[in-house]
C-alpha cells in the first residue's frame, strides 16, 4: 500500500511542484524529479529498504557534497577565463532591487529641514562635536562605525547578481550593531533621541539611507523602543514628515516579497483545524517568539489555526519541569478532545516546534488526530537518541512529517532516519539545508545560495501543505463516509476494554449512586470547567488549559475520600520539595552549587520518601482534615459553597508544603476569566480559589447542585473515574449531541450545561484514559486500584505496581520523580507517568529549554540550565529533572547535552 501510495503521492506532488514556488526554488529537488519523470519505475534514491512507513527524505536547499576527484583533474586544462555562471536569483530581481532602494529613495522624508542643502559628502569632517559628552561621542562613533561598514558592504555588493539578498544580510548586520550600540546606553531616552536628531541632521544622504534601513529593520523587532527614539524628531518635522517616515519604517523589505505574494498557498482540503502545540509555557515575561507568531500566521493560509498556549502556573515558582510538561500535554489533549466534540468531522492537525513537536507526538499517541507535523524535532536527549524499544513514540499511528534543520543541534539526519525506520506510523521527513533547530538558515547559506529566510519558510510551508494534502485526501478517499470514526474506534479500543474492567467493578465497590447522572462530580472543578468552557464555547485559543486542571480537581471528589486524598496529596507535594532538596544535596556533595541551596536541606541522598518530616505533616493534615470533615452527602443546596471551602483547604495545604512563596497569579481573576486560574491547580492561591468558587457558585450553583450528590459518595478513587467513564464514553460517542443524550441534559441553562458537560467529559476522559493505561505495564485494573487506594504513599503504591513490570530497579527513581510532580492526585500513575517510567517524558522534559529557564528564575538563579542527572553507578537508574539550575553545573553527561541549547534560552538582547 505504501509503495503505491507513495508513488501516487510523488506524482501528484511532482505535478503540483511544476507550478509551485518549490519547484523554482530548490534546484536539487528538481534534479531528483527529472529522474522520476523519465523513469517512473525507479525507486527514489533515498527509499528505505526496511521501513515501508518511512517515506523518502526530501531535501530542501541541501547542497550535495562534491566528491574530490584528484586523479582526473590533472588532465583538465585550467580555465582562467570562463566565469562560472552564477545561479539566477530565485526572486524577482527587479522588484527586489526596487524595494531594496526604498530607503534611499525616500531618505528625504527623514530630514528635518528638507529645504536646507544636504550635508556634503565629507560631512564627517564638518560634524561639530563641541559640547558633546563622552557618552554622546562614544555612541555616535559606534553608530558611525556600523554605518560605515554598512556603506562598505553596499559598495562591495553593488552589481552582484544577488545583490538584494546580500544587501539584506548587510542591513541586518548593521541593524544588529546599531541595536547593540543603543543597548549599550540602555536605550537612555535622552541620549537616543539626541542621537537620532543629530544623525538626521548631519549624515550625508547615502549614510542616512543606511541609517533608515537599520531603523526599519529594528522597527520590526523592537517597535516601542524605536518609536520612543523617533518621538522627538516627529515633533520637529511635523505630522506629514513623521507619517511618511513611519510609513517608510513600517516593515523591513524582503527581496523575495514579489515571488511570495504572487504564489499564495492554497487552503488544505477538508478544512482541517491546525493546532499548534506550544514548545514551552508562555508568560508575559517571555512572549512567544516572533518567529512562532510569524509561522502561526503562515499556517493560517492552510487552515484554521488554533494555538494552544500553556501558561505557567504560579509564575513558575515551585513548578517542576515535568509538572509543566504534563500541563502542556494535558492542554493539547484537552483541546483535541474539545475540538473533537465541537467539530466531530473536522480533521485535526497537530503542529509543534521542537518540544511542542514532541508534545504533539505524545498527544497523537493518546488521542486521535489526522496528522502531526514536527518542526524541528528534539531527537537527541541526554540518554541518547529517542526511539528506544520502550519509547512510546514508536507506537504512533498518526501520519507524521518531520521537518528538521540540517545543522540542528537536537537531531541529525542519520539519527532521524534510524528513528523513522522504527516508527510504525506513516512518516515523511524534510531536511532543510543549513538550517538550525528553528529552521533558520545561516547567513553563509543565505549568502552562498541567494536565499532569504522567507523563501525557506515558504518552501517548508509548501512541503507541509504537500504532506498534509496527501494525508487529508487519503483520509477522505479510502474510508468513504466516516474515516475518522474507524480510526477513532481503533484508538479507543484498548482504552475501552480497560475501562470495561473498571466499570465492571463499579457495582462491587458499592458506590452509592445509581444513575450515571448522580456521578457527575459537583466538585469545584466541575464548576470551574463550566465557567471556563462556557467562556469560550467555540474553539477559541483562550480555552486552553481548562481541562488539564480539571483532571486532578475532579478526582478530588468524595468527602470521605478527601481525607485519604489529602494525605496523599500533601505527601506528594512534600516529596516534591524533598526531591528538590535531595537534588540540591546531591549538587552540594558534588561541589556544584554553593549558594543556591535552600535552607534546611537534608543532606541525604535519595532517602525513602516517608521520612519523619513527612509523617508529621501527614498527621497535621489528618487533624486538619478531620476537623473540617463534612458529612458524606450534605444537602445539595449548601453543597457547592462548602465544597469550595474544602477545596480551599486542600490547596492551601498543598501550598504550604510546596514552598514558601504563595502564588500571586493575579487575585483579580474571576469567573469571567477563569482559565488562568484553573490552569494552575497544583499551586493556585487559596484566595483565588475562594474568589473563583464563590463567583462560580453564583452563576453555576444551581446546575452544579443538581448533579453533585454522586461525588460525595465514597467511591474508591480509581473506581470513580471508571464510573464516570460510562458517562464519558457516552458523551464522546454521541459527539456534539452529547448534551441531549447524557443525563446532564436535565440541567437548566442548556448552553452552559453543554459546556459543563464538555468540560467534564474532558476531565473524565483524562482520568479514565490515564488509569487504564497503566495495565500496559503492570497487572491490569484491580491491582492498580488496590495499590492506589490502600497504600497511603504513592511511592509504595507505585513500587507495588511497577514491580509487576519487572523493572524493580527503576521503581525508586520513578517514585521520586513522580512524587516530585506534586500534581498527581493520589499518586495515581497516569499515562504520562508511564511515559516517564519509560524515559519518554524524561526525554521530553530534558528538551524543554523555555521552561527550564523560567523555573530557574523562580528559584532565584541566574544561569539558566536544565540539569539532568543520570546516575549510572547507582543501583537504581535515577532520572531527575529539577528546575534548580546552575551555570556551574558540570555533570558529566548533562552538560554536554544541556549546553548546546543554552543559547536559545538566553533572553533576547534588550
Amino acid at each position: 500500500m505504501s509503495h503505491r501510495g507513495g508513488e501516487r503521492d510523488f506524482q501528484t506532488s511532482a505535478r503540483r511542484m511544476g507550478t509551485s514556488l518549490l519547484f523554482q526554488l530548490s534546484v536539487h529537488e528538481r534534479e531528483l524529479d527529472l529522474v522520476f519523470l523519465d523513469h517512473s519505475y525507479a525507486k527514489p534514491w533515498s527509499a528505505h529498504p526496511d521501513a515501508s512507513s518511512a517515506r523518502p527524505t526530501r531535501m530542501l536547499f541541501v547542497t550535495p557534497r562534491r566528491h574530490q576527484d584528484s586523479t582526473i583533474e590533472a588532465d583538465i586544462p585550467i580555465d582562467v577565463e570562463t566565469v562560472t555562471s552564477t545561479p539566477v536569483p530565485l526572486y524577482d530581481n527587479q522588484k527586489a532591487r526596487s524595494v531594496m532602494n526604498e530607503c534611499e529613495r525616500h531618505v528625504i522624508f527623514a530630514r528635518t529641514d528638507a529645504d536646507a542643502p544636504p550635508p556634503p559628502e565629507d560631512w564627517e569632517e564638518h560634524v561639530n562635536r563641541t559640547g558633546w559628552t563622552i557618552a554622546q561621542n562614544k555612541l555616535f562613533n559606534k553608530i558611525l562605525k556600523a554605518l560605515q561598514s554598512d556603506r562598505l558592504a553596499r559598495l562591495a555588493n553593488e552589481g552582484a547578481c544577488n545583490e538584494p539578498v546580500l544587501r539584506r544580510i548587510a542591513v541586518d548586520k548593521c541593524a544588529r550593531r546599531v541595536r547593540q550600540a543603543l543597548a549599550s546606553v540602555s536605550w537612555d531616552i535622552k541620549l537616543v533621541q539626541w542621537l537620532h536628531t543629530t544623525l538626521v541632521e548631519t549624515l550625508s544622504l547615502p549614510m542616512l539611507a543606511a541609517y533608515l534601513d537599520a531603523l526599519q529593520t529594528l522597527k520590526g523587532k523592537i517597535p516601542t523602543l524605536i518609536d520612543r527614539m523617533l518621538m522627538s524628531s516627529t515633533t520637529k518635522t511635523g505630522a506629514a514628515g513623521a507619517e511618511a517616515l513611519s510609513l517608510l519604517l513600517k516593515r523591513p523589505w524582503d527581496p523575495a516579497v514579489g515571488v511570495l505574494s504572487h504564489n499564495k498557498p492554497s487552503k488544505l482540503p477538508g478544512s482541517p483545524l491546525i493546532l499548534i502545540a506550544s514548545s514551552g509555557p508562555s508568560s508575559s515575561m517571555f512572549p512567544t517568539s516572533r518567529r512562532h507568531r510569524f509561522w502561526q500566521s503562515q499556517l493560517s493560509c492552510l487552515g484554521k489555526v488554533i494555538p494552544i498556549a500553556t501558561h505557567l502556573l504560579n509564575n513558575g515558582s515551585g513548578v517542576g519541569v515535568l509538572q509543566c510538561l504534563e500541563h502542556m500535554i494535558g492542554a493539547v489533549r484537552g483541546k483535541v478532545l474539545e475540538i473533537h466534540n465541537h467539530f466531530p468531522h473536522k480533521p485535526i492537525i497537530l503542529i509543534g516546534w521542537n518540544t511542542g513537536a514532541l508534545v504533539a507526538c505524545h498527544v497523537s499517541v493518546m488521542e486521535y488526530v489526522t496528522a502531526v507535523v514536527c518542526l524541528g524535532f528534539p531527537l537527541l536527549t541526554v540518554d541518547g537518541p529517542r526511539g528506544d524499544v520502550d519509547d512510546p513514540l514508536l507506537d504512533m499511528k498518526t501520519p507524521v512529517l518531520f521537518v528538521i534543520g540540517q545543522n540542528s543541534l537536537q537531531c541529525h539526519t542519520e539519527a532521524m532516519e534510524d528513528f523513522r525506520e522504527k516508527i510504525r506510523a506513516d512518516n515523511s521527513m524534510v531536511v532543510v539545508g543549513g538550517a538550525d533547530d528553528n529552521l533558520r538558515i545561516s547567513k553563509a547559506k543565505k549568502k552562498s545560495e541567494g536565499l532569504t529566510q522567507s523563501m525557506v519558510d515558504r518552501c517548508v510551508q509548501d512541503e507541509i501543505a504537500d504532506f498534509l494534502t496527501g494525508v487529508l485526501t487519503r483520509a477522505e478517499g479510502h474510508s468513504g463516509s466516516e474515516p475518522r470514526d474507524q480510526d477513532a474506534e481503533k484508538k479507543k479500543k484498548p482504552r475501552d476494554s480497560a475501562r470495561r474492567d473498571l466499570a465492571f467493578e463499579l457495582p462491587e465497590r458499592g458506590s452509592r449512586p445509581t444513575s450515571p447522572a448522580a456521578k457527575l462530580p459537583a466538585s469545584p472543578s466541575g464548576s470551574e470547567d463550566l465557567s471556563s468552557v462556557s467562556s469560550s464555547p467555540t474553539s477559541s485559543p483562550k480555552t486552553k488549559m481548562a481541562t488539564v486542571t480539571s483532571v486532578q480537581k475532579s478526582s478530588q471528589i468524595g468527602t470521605a475520600q478527601l481525607l485519604k486524598r489529602h494525605v496523599q496529596r500533601t505527601e506528594a507535594v512534600l516529596t516534591h520539595k524533598q526531591a528538590q532538596a535531595q537534588f540540591a544535596a546531591f549538587l552540594k556533595q558534588n561541589m556544584l552549587v554553593r549558594k543556591t541551596l535552600p535552607p534546611g536541606t537534608s543532606s541525604c541522598l535519595f532517602v525513602p520518601i516517608s521520612s519523619d518530616q513527612t509523617e508529621e505533616a501527614d498527621k497535621e493534615d489528618l487533624r486538619g482534615q478531620l476537623k473540617r470533615q463534612h458529612p458524606p452527602s450534605p444537602p445539595p443546596g449548601s453543597k457547592s459553597s462548602k465544597r469550595a471551602k474544602i477545596k480551599v483547604t486542600i490547596v492551601s495545604h498543598g501550598d504550604g508544603a510546596s514552598g514558601p512563596s504563595l502564588p500571586s497569579q493575579g487575585g483579580t481573576t474571576e469567573g469571567g476569566k477563569p482559565i488562568t486560574v484553573t490552569r494552575g491547580q497544583a499551586a493556585v492561591g487559596a484566595k483565588e480559589l475562594t474568589g473563583l468558587l464563590t463567583t462560580a457558585k453564583s452563576s453555576v450553583a444551581s446546575e452544579t447542585v443538581s448533579v453533585s450528590p454522586a461525588s460525595s459518595s465514597i467511591i474508591p478513587n480509581s473506581t470513580a473515574p471508571s464510573a464516570f467513564h460510562t458517562l464519558q464514553s457516552r458523551l464522546v460517542a454521541s459527539g456534539g449531541h452529547c448534551v441531549a443524550a447524557s443525563p446532564g441534559s436535565t440541567l437548566p441553562g442548556s448552553t452552559s450545561a453543554s459546556s459543563l458537560l464538555q468540560g467534564l467529559s474532558f476531565s473524565l476522559q483524562d482520568i479514565s484514559s490515564k488509569t487504564p493505561t497503566l495495565p500496559a505495564s503492570a497487572s491490569p485494573g484491580p491491582a492498580t486500584q488496590a495499590s492506589s487506594v490502600k497504600l497511603p504513599t504513592p511511592m509504595q503504591g507505585l513500587g507495588a505496581i511497577t514491580t509487576g513490570t519487572g523493572t524493580i530497579v527503576r521503581t525508586i527513581p520513578v517514585a521520586t520523580t513522580l512524587s516530585s510532580l506534586g500534581a498527581t492526585p493520589g499518586g495515581k500513575p497516569t499515562a504520562i507517568h508511564q511515559l516517564l517510567t519509560n524515559g519518554g517524558l524524561a526525554k521530553l522534559a530534558s528538551s524543554l529549554p523555555g521552561l527550564a529557564q523560567i523555573s530557574n528564575q523562580a528559584a532565584g538563579l541566574k544561569a539558566p540550565t536544565t540539569i539532568t542527572v543520570t546516575l549510572r553507578g547507582q543501583p537504581s537508574r535515577v532520572t531527575t529533572l529539577s528546575p534548580m539550575g546552575t551555570g556551574a553545573a558540570s555533570l558529566e553527561e548533562s552538560t554536554s547535552q544541556a549546553l548546546p541549547s543554552t543559547p536559545q534560552r538566553l533572553p533576547p538582547a534588550p
Binding site: I78, T84, E121, D122, Q148, S149, L155
Partner: protein, 324 residues
C-alpha cells in the same frame, strides 16, 4: 611533463593532428614609446583596450594611444614618484599610488586630479579599483590595506594584518574577494563585504610576494615570489596548480599578467631585461621578448588586442608594445 604537453595539444588544436609542436606566439616589437624622464613603474591598458597609461618615478602619468603608439597627455599632481596605477571599469578614472603617501583619482578626460586619498603613513605601493569602480583598494609600505570610497574619498576601512609592506591588491571579477600580497610572504584573501580574511596562501619557505592577481574568472590567483617563481593557485582547493620558472625575480616587484589569447599565456618581466611568455597550461616558456636595456618591471596584456606592453627601469625609460 611530456605527456602533459601532448595532451594539451590535443585539447587546444585537435584538427592539427600533424603538428605536435605547440604553435608559438610570435610577438614582434611594434612601437617603442619614449617620454618618461625616469624609471617607469607600471603600465596598464584601459578596459576598452585603446589606451595605455604609464606611471613613472618622474611623478607623471602618461596616457598613450595604443593603435598608433602616440602620446596623448600627461597627468601631474603628485609630489613624489608613482608606484602603481589602475583604470576604473568605465575607463574614465585612473587611480595612482605615490610615494608621497597619497593616492590620487584622476579624471582622464579632463586630465585633472579629482580626489586625493590621504591616510597611509608610508609610500603607497599598489592600488586597484573594484569591478564596480566605487571602491579603491590600496596597499602601502605602512603594511596596511586601505579601502576607499571613490565618491567621497573617505577611507572606509583599514586592514592591517600584514607584517611587511603590501605589494599588490586585486579583486576578483565580481568584487566579492580581495587578494593582497606582502613581503611577509603571505597572500591573504579577504571578503570585501565583511573585511574578514578567508584564506591565506603561502609558498614553501615563505618567499616575499612581489605580485598577486586574480585570474579573469576569479577562480585562480597568480602570485609572483622573489625566488624567481610564478605560481598559479586554485582558490577553492587551495593548492598550487602550476609553477612558472626560468626568469629572474629576486629584488623587484615585477608585474605579471594573463593573456587570453589562444593558447593562454602568462607574461612577466624579468630582472635579466627580458619579457618572458609562458604557456599557461604547459608551464613552458614559449617566447622571450628581447629589447629592453634595463629590468622589465611592468608588463600588461591588452584586453582586446594581441598586444603586450612592457616598461623598463631607469637605464631604459621606454615602453615597448609587442604585437603578435
Amino acid at each position: 611533463m611530456a605527456t602533459q604537453y601532448f595532451k594539451t595539444v590535443e585539447h587546444t588544436s585537435t584538427n592539427e593532428k600533424k603538428s605536435f609542436k605547440l604553435k608559438k606566439p610570435n610577438y614582434q616589437l611594434k612601437f617603442t614609446l619614449d617620454g618618461h624622464t625616469r624609471a617607469i613603474s607600471a603600465v596598464k591598458f584601459n578596459p576598452k583596450g585603446n589606451w595605455l597609461a604609464s606611471s613613472s618615478d618622474d611623478k607623471e602619468i602618461k596616457i598613450w594611444e595604443v593603435y598608433s603608439g602616440t602620446y596623448m597627455k600627461t597627468l601631474t599632481d603628485h609630489n613624489l614618484g608613482i608606484s602603481d596605477i589602475a583604470w576604473s571599469s568605465d575607463s574614465e578614472l585612473l587611480v595612482s599610488a605615490s610615494d608621497d603617501k597619497t593616492l590620487k583619482i584622476w579624471n582622464v578626460g579632463a586630465g585633472k586630479c579629482t580626489t586625493t586619498l590621504t591616510g597611509h603613513t608610508d609610500f603607497v605601493f599598489c592600488c586597484n579599483f573594484s569591478p564596480q569602480s566605487d571602491i579603491i583598494y590600496s596597499g602601502s609600505f605602512d603594511e596596511n590595506v586601505r579601502i576607499w570610497n571613490v565618491k567621497t574619498g573617505g577611507c572606509l576601512r583599514c586592514l592591517s594584518t600584514h607584517s611587511a609592506p603590501v605589494t599588490a591588491v586585486h579583486t576578483n571579477q565580481n568584487g566579492s574577494l580581495l587578494v593582497s600580497g606582502s613581503y611577509d610572504g603571505l597572500c591573504r584573501i579577504w571578503d570585501t563585504v565583511s573585511c574578514q580574511y578567508i584564506k591565506t596562501f603561502m609558498s614553501d619557505n615563505c618567499p616575499p610576494v612581489s605580485f598577486v592577481k586574480f585570474s579573469p574568472n576569479g577562480e585562480n590567483i597568480l602570485t609572483a615570489t622573489m625566488d624567481n617563481t610564478l605560481n598559479l593557485w586554485d582558490l577553492k582547493k587551495e593548492k598550487c596548480l602550476k609553477k612558472y620558472i626560468g626568469h629572474k625575480n629576486e629584488k623587484y616587484c615585477i608585474f605579471a599578467d594573463f593573456s587570453d589569447t589562444d593558447p593562454k599565456l602568462i607574461v612577466s618581466g624579468s630582472e635579466d631585461n627580458l619579457v618572458y611568455v609562458w604557456n599557461l597550461e604547459t608551464e613552458e616558456i614559449v617566447q622571450k621578448l628581447q629589447g629592453h636595456t634595463d629590468i622589465a618591471i611592468s608588463t600588461a596584456c591588452n584586453p582586446k588586442l594581441k598586444i603586450i606592453a612592457s616598461a623598463a627601469l631607469e637605464k631604459d625609460k621606454t615602453i615597448k608594445l609587442w604585437e603578435k
